[in-house]
């Protein structure tokens, strides 16, 4: 696994920043029974940063479906153009606000699926993905983000958002690292 700060924000890090946030450094992992939460961006969204994010989501979702990890799509508006395919066995929740949890039935779906963690992917990283990861932590889920499966309208906003969330709320890792956890009979953390 890459080192804690070796992700998309590494080029904006300063020595002071690394030192100040070192109290958040820790072991990262995917929980033993996660769900993949795909946050769909609203219509008109254009990813300037990491435009390949939907392909990375598809890659993770394919593995998740194969090993029985629930895939939940959080959609702002069901009329929106789909960036990511929804398979028949997937779940879909409406997303009326920013976080996928807020005023939606996501928490109910996760409880019924008996998950103990979430992997958040989608766009925008500095908006709905970040808010969802922060709230997943508040709901008590071990939370991860696959960074290359997140896009944004701004590279700077994406880097700082993923930095903040990686330190405070979620285990940020690459799509490959997430897939490795999923394939190794899921995660190691309880």
């Amino acid at each position: 696994m890459r080192s804690f700060e070796d992700y998309c924000w590494s080029d904006i890090l300063t020595d002071d920043m690394t030192r100040i946030y070192s109290a958040y450094h820790r072991q990262r992992a995917i929980s033993s029974r996660p769900a993949l939460v795909v946050v769909h961006p609203e219509n008109g969204f254009t990813a300037v940063a990491q435009p390949e994010w939907p392909k990375e989501v598809e890659r993770i979702a394919a593995i998740a479906r194969k090993n029985g990890t629930p895939v939940v799509h959080s959609r702002r508006n069901t009329d929106d153009r789909l960036h990511v395919r929804i398979a028949p066995e997937d779940f879909t929740c409406a997303r009326p606000c920013e976080s996928a949890f807020f005023f939606s039935d996501l928490e109910r779906v996760l409880t019924r699926q008996k998950v103990n963690g979430v992997i958040v992917v989608g766009a925008p990283a500095s908006g709905a993905v970040r808010a969802t990861a922060a709230e997943a932590k508040s709901y008590g889920y071990r939370t991860a983000i696959a960074e290359d499966a997140t896009g944004d309208e701004s590279s700077l906003l994406r880097k700082v958002a993923l930095f903040d969330v990686a330190h405070k709320y979620a285990d940020v890792m690459s799509a490959d690292e997430v897939i490795e956890f999923l394939q190794a009979g899921k995660g190691t953390a309880s």
């Binding site: 920043m17 300037v48 922060a134 700077l156 906003l157």
Partner: protein
């Protein structure tokens, strides 16, 4: 920071400049606002008015110079808010041992500071008789608290929000206030974080997505003209 009309001015690039240019103004300053002050407890002022990096070993939760730097503006804001008859709702962390025997934390920061006495609101900013204190366990002031109910009962129509950290509990609270439907004004010079980049980017993000970022002087002008009426239904 004394003027905050554009607290993000020195971090903008072409992409963020374009997003700012496309931003549509949102409603602000209703007739019956409240001021919500998030997590202004002693812990984040710990170690004194010094660079955060120098405080990390002994005071890993401190915001040092940034906390102390925002203090005069925050005291001034509290004076003006009270003078305008606008309620202040203080938000603090619930430290009662029986509420958390399993040591479940709202963030992934290692707790090196064991002195729970530091979770008391800084004396200069302490709640006055009759002001509300909301005790929370998670990042947002709304999560698992009666804050939303109180805002409805008080017939609040908009919120001013300040506190720390800009990228953490303040931001989580702002996103939820917006999600509940309130116009939100974030007062930049009465808010702070551990590092300027994270502070500025979260202010910019909130201004683009959920709130209007203003300064204490602007908030004061709005408060003087709002003639607030707060009656419990």
């Amino acid at each position: 920071m004394t003027t905050t009309s554009d607290p993000w001015i020195d971090i903008l690039d072409d992409e963020t400049r374009a997003l700012l240019a496309a931003r549509k103004p949102r409603p602000t300053g209703g007739k019956s606002p409240v001021l919500i002050a998030v997590d202004l407890y002693d812990l984040v002022y710990d170690g004194g008015n010094r660079p955060v990096v120098e405080l990390m070993d002994d005071y890993p939760a401190s915001c040092g110079e940034y906390a102390w730097g925002a203090l005069p503006a925050t005291i001034e804001l509290f004076n003006q808010t009270r003078a305008a008859g606008i309620p202040i709702i203080h938000v603090n962390y619930d430290t009662r041992a029986e509420t958390d025997p399993w040591n479940i934390h709202p963030t992934n920061r290692k707790r090196r500071q064991k002195n729970l006495g530091l979770y008391s609101i800084k004396s200069e900013l302490a709640a006055l008789e009759g002001e509300t204190i909301i005790y929370k366990k998670r990042a947002s002031a709304f999560f698992g608290t009666p804050l939303c109910a109180f805002l409805n009962e008080m017939q609040v129509d908009s919120v001013y929000m300040i506190g720390e950290s800009t990228s953490g509990c303040l931001r989580a609270s702002v996103v939820e206030a917006w999600s509940f439907g309130y116009p939100v004004s974030v007062i930049a010079d009465a808010s702070f974080d551990r590092y300027p980049l994270n502070h500025k980017v979260s202010l910019l993000d909130m201004h683009l997505k959920y709130a209007t970022v203003i300064d204490v002087a602007t908030a004061t002008r709005e408060m003087r003209s709002s003639k607030p009426v707060h009656e419990v239904a």
